[in-house]
């Protein structure tokens, strides 16, 4: 506790009064910890009055704040006053490190998700095949977007007339979705078992991405793409 005495010697130190009370307030070092934790976890800047209400009876959050402010001087994070309240903020000279923090994330469009899903489950797959499965044409922008995100890339050309290019998913995709390989994508039966799919298959519907033969064929082709 001596560090506190020496550190802010010019201030009137009212800590002695604590012993007068029946229930001692926590030591100043502890109060400083409390202020630090509350400032860190609060969604908005915190007022001294708010701190008083939260901290045990007899605490002096104003003083603790002053210690905390000094402690963070010159560090990567600072205690700053915002109007009547206080907050922890990163040091302005380190703002350049935070640029990545400002990236805005948007949900992928439904068309893009469906296209991506088809590529993941059916790779290598041509654009015409994607359109056949989705039942609507795939806009160029959708494919471009997925390519740009590096979630898909061009696979080898199909040995069919016109030798169309195919699409496959990338390691970036696997990483993003926490998959070790595209083979770990659950089949429809498993989706249904996990409750992700409410409905039953229509009677007489062809087996959907589940049939053994399809699976095997897929595996063969995928073996080149994803070796494990």
């Amino acid at each position: 506790m001596d560090e506190y005495q020496s550190h802010i010697s010019e201030e009137d130190h009212p800590r002695r009064r604590q012993s007068d009370s029946l229930f001692d307030a926590p030591p100043m070092a502890e109060q400083e910890r409390m202020v630090e934790a509350v400032l860190f976890a609060s969604a908005d800047p915190v007022t001294i009055r708010d701190l008083e209400a939260r901290m045990p009876h007899g605490c002096n959050p104003g003083e603790a704040m002053e210690y905390l402010r000094k402690r963070y001087e010159g560090r990567g994070v600072r205690v700053v006053q915002v109007g009547e309240a206080w907050a922890l903020r990163t040091a302005p000279d380190l703002g350049f490190l935070m640029q990545k923090e400002t990236v805005e994330t948007k949900k992928l469009s439904r068309a893009a998700i469906e296209t991506l899903a088809i590529i993941a489950y059916h790779q290598p797959v041509t654009r015409a095949e994607i359109e056949e499965i989705r039942g609507v044409s795939v806009s160029r922008g959708t494919i471009d977007q997925l390519l740009e995100m590096e979630w898909i890339r061009f696979g080898r050309r199909k040995m069919t007339p016109g030798r169309p290019v195919t699409f496959v998913v990338t390691p970036v995709f696997l990483d993003h979705f926490g998959l070790e390989s595209a083979r770990d994508l659950p089949g429809l039966k498993e989706l249904r078992a996990a409750g992700l799919l409410e409905n039953r298959p229509p009677p007489g519907a062809f087996p959907i991405g589940q049939g053994d033969s399809e699976d095997e064929r897929r595996d063969e082709e995928q073996a080149e793409l994803f070796e494990d």
Partner: protein
Amino acid sequence: MADEDTLFPEELQLSVEERLEAEALIVDVHGFEGPLDLLLMLSRTQKVDLRRISVYELARQYLTFVERAKELRIELAADYLVMAAWLAYLKSRLLLPPDPEEEGPSGEELAAHLAFQLERLQAMRDAAARLMGRDQLGRDFFARGQGEDVQRIKTVTYTANLLDLMQGYARIRTKDEFRPFVMDRDSVFTMEEALERMRGLIGFTGSWTDMLSYLPDGWHSDPVKRRSATAATFAASLQLVKEGKMEIRQTESFAPIQLRTRPEDH
């Protein structure tokens, strides 16, 4: 099972009769998650390490439980009865000296496995309790509450999670099931369609023309289609006559119906 005491009879000092009585009170199987859960609860009455549990005694208790349930006409799920049958078998195996002729695992082996399963389930429950007893994020310790509002570079990235992906795929592969109910209209030519078609054609017909010539291509041969197209075209013709745009005539019953554009100056 009105209160805890009847659920956990081991907490009371009970005679065998009393214990049986207590068991009769716990036949409400809704409180249990299957036979293994029930067996685990029953095993607590033995007050011993699960590794030293008497499976024979446990089997006896379980069978008593099932008997009571039957007496009280409580319907037991099939898996409870399957377990009862198996335990009855196990009990008899444990009673009889091992038959060297008989194939398969011995009663002791089966009993040991059941004890293992019970011990493992109990261990997982303890582990679950310990896990939930840990300090938890958002309850005991906290992450940064305030986002940094630095906005120097604004890049948009698109994100999706695995659920989105799987649900997207499921949506496509099952979309036929979600098709809203519609009448099958392959062979139906509507009056609106006929009107549209005729409005485009009447300007060219100054002289009397057979109405059937207005039928669209491909609707002549199939009788079902032909009937629909004829009816629609006839209804559309009447509409156009009513609007004063056409004239219509028929020389006699079943004779061809003829149409022509109404002359402007009349």
